[in-house]
């Protein structure tokens, strides 16, 4: 999609260049600035959402490279202003400006490699020049967003301002002389050392081909002129466009966009009436900012639960520990406390006690929470009107849910709640397939553990085999340094997963959705495309089967 631009007079002796449907292509707009001696402010705030995505086609990458060159070659003092999520074209153009001003809550991403694309033009080299290798690795290798505070420290952002005065700040920004960064990686020895380090880290992370290609290209193109770099990037983009991995990543990205965004949670106060496992729901809701009252008749369950929650938060989210725990109040009384609570989560099979139900507001959403293993039975036995949420694991580690209700309105509200909490809500057919596959995986996992296999060994095996990311291993709470382990356990586990998928009727099944669900739930690496995607990949290339020793198990 061609993006059109327009210039306007800004504060003082400045011109603002921003996207506008009625405008002209960027090179033409910039050409009009010939003779203008003031400052050019590139306003990147208004870029349409579609243009925020990375360039995923060879021609588009070339086009973006040209736009970057236009901005970088301007003789004026150029200042980019950024707000919200800065990625894709906005990120590429911001790097070409001489200075950058952002709002304090902006987030900066280099999203390309996560979607199987190459950062276009000279983005790779500009990024490293500005930020140094540390931040470069963070953005590219570790695929983590950069906060404005970190960006300012690293030199990627020169000043911050609240949205109302962002343009004024850009107009009055004094040119600053940046301290030159160490460029050890520009020497032959430095290039070799850092390249090996980055590639080793990517391998340990089980990173996608795009990330590996981007890092290799960055080091290999260090001493090449601009036109050769652009050609290298275009070639790499062509290679990636034909790769299965990129296709998987982009397909999953689109499924994720379609099913997991656009929902807001409007609940402020929640009541959790649960025994064992109530702490997980209380913790989840408190982490999302709700005031939670957790009721359970047994004091020991409450005390143990809060202790568990505190330990989990200390370990995984220490910065949110105090805040989340402060939102939870406990009670051993389950018959009051409903006044002003717009959400009730319960594990009881029956309706709520009458006294409590009378206290709740008329529009309160009451849901039952159940484990997905009871999915088929519960679907058959659920009384009409009762809304049930099924999760494959506990709510703190699950990312997938299914909702069942005889009442469409309630089901919609429950689905909206779960999406607001960051879950992928599956339709019935996909949920059956997904839960059956996950149950197969869990059964195989339990068999290994019962046979005396160390849990760490199983996880290392999964990771070494490329079926689990480090993040997933961490979530299983036994994170240690990932070592290579024989993939024996992984074969059986993954076969359990596929067996579960094959057992379900796939007529009309949205396989992308199941793949995404399994990726979110198990840590299956996204670039392998989930179990269906991976099966498709290895069937295209029997050599993979041979090297992985999976031929007998998977091929008919």
């Amino acid at each position: 999609m061609m993006i059109l631009w327009q210039t306007a007079h800004g504060p003082g002796n400045t011109r603002i260049v921003r996207s506008d449907k009625r405008g002209k292509p960027l090179p033409e707009v910039l050409a009009e600035l010939n003779g203008f001696t003031g400052r050019v402010i590139l306003d990147l705030r208004g870029l349409a959402a579609a243009t925020l995505e990375p360039a995923d086609k060879e021609a588009q990458a070339l086009e973006r490279g040209k736009l970057q060159a236009c901005v970088a070659d301007l003789p004026h003092m150029t200042v980019a202003v950024m707000d919200g999520t800065v990625q894709g074209l906005a990120f590429d153009l911001a790097l070409c400006c001489k200075y950058r001003v952002a709002t304090p809550d902006a987030d900066i991403f280099c999203q390309g490699p996560a979607l199987g694309c190459m950062p276009p033009g000279e983005t790779l080299w500009r990024m490293a020049e500005l930020t140094g290798l540390d931040v470069f690795f963070r953005l590219l290798v570790r695929q983590k967003p950069l906060s404005v505070e970190s960006a300012r420290k690293s030199g990627l952002v020169d000043a911050t301002a609240i949205p109302g005065i962002l343009l004024d700040r850009a107009a009055e920004l004094s040119p600053v002389r940046r301290k030159p960064k160490k460029r050890i990686y520009k020497t032959a020895l430095g290039r070799m050392l850092f390249k090996n380090q980055a590639l080793a880290e990517l391998k340990a992370r089980g990173a996608s081909q795009a990330a590996v290609l981007a890092v290799s290209l960055f080091f290999d193109g260090q001493r090449k002129p601009r036109h050769q770099r652009m050609a290298l990037v275009a070639d790499a983009m062509g290679t990636l466009a034909a790769s299965v991995e990129s296709r998987h990543l982009q397909r999953l990205h689109h499924v994720q966009e379609a099913h997991m965004t656009g929902q807001d949670m409007d609940h402020e106060r929640a009541l959790v009436i649960m025994g064992e496992g109530g702490w997980e729901w209380a913790g989840l809701l408190a982490l999302y900012g709700l005031q939670v009252r957790w009721c359970c008749g047994e004091e020991k369950v409450l005390a143990d639960g809060l202790c568990w929650l505190s330990r989990q938060l200390e370990r995984f989210l220490p910065q949110r520990h105090d805040d989340a725990l402060a939102r939870i109040t406990l009670s051993t009384q389950v018959d009051h406390g409903g006044a002003g609570r717009s959400l009730v989560v319960s594990d009881a099979p029956d309706a709520l006690p009458e006294g409590l139900a009378a206290q709740l507001p008329a529009d309160a959403l009451c849901v039952q929470a159940r484990h997905a293993r009871t999915w088929q039975d519960a679907l058959a036995s659920s009384p009409p009107g009762l809304t049930t949420i099924f999760l494959p694991h506990d709510p703190l580690t699950s990312r997938v849910a299914a909702v069942s209700s005889g009442d469409d309105k309630n089901a919609g509200r429950a689905a909206s709640l779960m999406k607001g909490l960051g879950f992928l809500v599956l339709p019935t057919l996909e949920a059956s397939a997904c839960f059956s596959a996950l149950a197969g995986l869990e059964d195989a996992y339990n068999r290994f553990v019962q046979s005396g296999q160390s849990e760490l060994h199983i996880l290392q095996s999964m990771h070494a085999f490329g079926f689990a990311t480090q993040a997933w291993v961490r979530r299983r709470r036994i994170y240690k340094k990932i070592k290579a382990a024989p993939p024996d356990a992984a074969y059986d586990l993954v076969c359990g997963l596929w067996k579960g998928l094959r057992d379900c009727d796939d007529a009309g099944l949205d396989k992308s959705l199941v793949d995404l669900a399994v990726i979110l739930e198990t840590g299956f690496p996204a670039h392998r495309g989930g179990p269906y995607g991976f099966l498709e990949q290895i069937q295209e290339n029997p050599m993979i089967l041979k090297t992985m020793g999976l031929g007998k198990q998977l091929m008919p």
Binding site: E299, L306, C307, S331
Partner: protein, 371 residues
């Protein structure tokens, strides 16, 4: 303005640096407020005003009342104020709260633990909350001065402390003090709930009190630790609904005639507040079945009896005294209010009085209808 006690909750009283000291004071306050809303079946949006009392404001973040209001989910339009005048603060809140459409939420918290060992402006931080702004005396010196002024003897002080302690144990046995208690689960290990007052002195006897050494060395020293209500940790919240002119709103435990006055030597501490409230209500001492004083020390207790008509002596602190349990500032006043709700029979009236921060205050409590 007449208010009806809709309900409330309190935490146990914790010893300074004890189990409750591990819970941040704001969390304690939020927990009692949440519990009060739950027990009274009140939606946060219904609350008309929140008045937050804290004798140890150094232990709280800035704008604590507003933060508390947001944390418990009150409407952003609901005013939330903070008072730091120790025991009399609830009377100030009642005096200043005019006609409100919604209930008035009074919440108090005190955290001696967070201040113990800290100094500020030459004082130990915890002592700053326990001194008389008129005389500059700490509580012990104040009690010594009162003892000297009223001619109290060591044995009289010991007896008063013992009577207070026995009344407290009796009240706990009857459930007057424990009925509104909510258990607290202290971090970091969350090993178990705290159900009972941690600071409660269980084995106070005449002998044990006699054996204590005076806190001020020298020939004139009378006051011992056994005579003082020691500062502790705890929180209490009471929800007061505006009582209508009649009908169902008028039934229940009603609070009225609240007032606050400056305390001078002439006014005789809380005694002045008691006489003022009695005069305003038009009641005679025989119409009032109980007089509850938020005790700071045995000397304060005896000084009140000394300043009032002797007929008040048997009515004093029948619902329990603070010396055996500890003192948590305005939260102590609030839990006395809750305890009185449980011990008054239909048609009975009681007075609640306190003196602190150079002020004295009192209010009348009546039980209308079956308790």
């Amino acid at each position: 303005m007449t208010w009806r006690i809709a309900g409330g909750a309190r935490t146990p009283v914790g010893q300074a640096k004890g189990l409750l000291g591990r819970v941040p004071p704001m969390t304690l306050a939020a927990q009692v407020c949440e519990e009060t809303l739950a027990r009274t079946g009140t939606r946060p949006g219904q609350v008309g005003r929140l008045v937050f009392f804290c004798t140890t404001p150094d232990s709280l973040p800035p704008f604590a009342a507003r933060l508390l209001a947001r944390r418990i989910g009150l409407n952003p339009e609901t005013p939330a104020l903070m008072l730091t005048e120790d025991d009399v603060a609830p009377f100030i809140a009642l005096t200043l709260s005019g006609q409100l459409e919604g209930p008035l939420m009074l919440a108090g918290v005190s955290s001696a633990s967070s201040l113990l060992g800290q100094t500020s402006g030459g004082y130990a931080s915890v002592d700053r909350t326990r001194f008389n702004p008129d005389t500059g005396n700490l509580i012990t010196d104040d009690a010594e001065a009162l003892a000297e002024q009223c001619g109290l003897t060591r044995s009289a002080l010991d007896q008063a402390a013992l009577a207070s302690s026995q009344a407290a144990h009796k009240a706990i046995k009857k459930g007057l003090w424990t009925r509104d208690m909510m258990p607290v689960l202290p971090p970091p290990d969350y090993e178990g709930f705290v159900h009972q007052d941690q600071a409660l002195q269980r084995e106070t006897t005449a002998e044990s009190l006699r054996a204590l050494k005076p806190l001020r060395p020298g020939p004139g020293g009378l006051i011992t630790f056994g005579h003082l209500a020691l500062p502790g940790d705890g929180a209490c919240c009471v929800l007061l609904a505006p009582a209508g002119s009649g009908g169902p709103d008028k039934a229940g435990t009603l609070v009225s005639q609240a007032g606050v006055w400056g305390e001078t030597e002439k006014t005789g501490g809380a005694a002045f507040a008691v006489t003022q409230v009695m005069a305003a209500s038009g009641l005679a001492p025989r119409d009032v079945s109980q007089l509850d004083l938020v005790e700071k020390s045995a000397a304060h207790r005896l000084a009140l009896v000394d300043a009032l008509d002797p007929c008040w002596a048997p009515k004093l602190n029948k619902a329990g005294g603070d010396i055996a349990v500890g003192h948590v500032g305005a939260a102590s006043t609030l839990w006395h209010l809750l305890a009185l709700r449980h011990c008054l029979a239909d048609g009975q009236a009681a007075l609640l009085a306190a003196s602190s921060a150079g002020l004295c205050g009192a209010c009348l409590i009546r039980q209308e209808g079956a308790p």
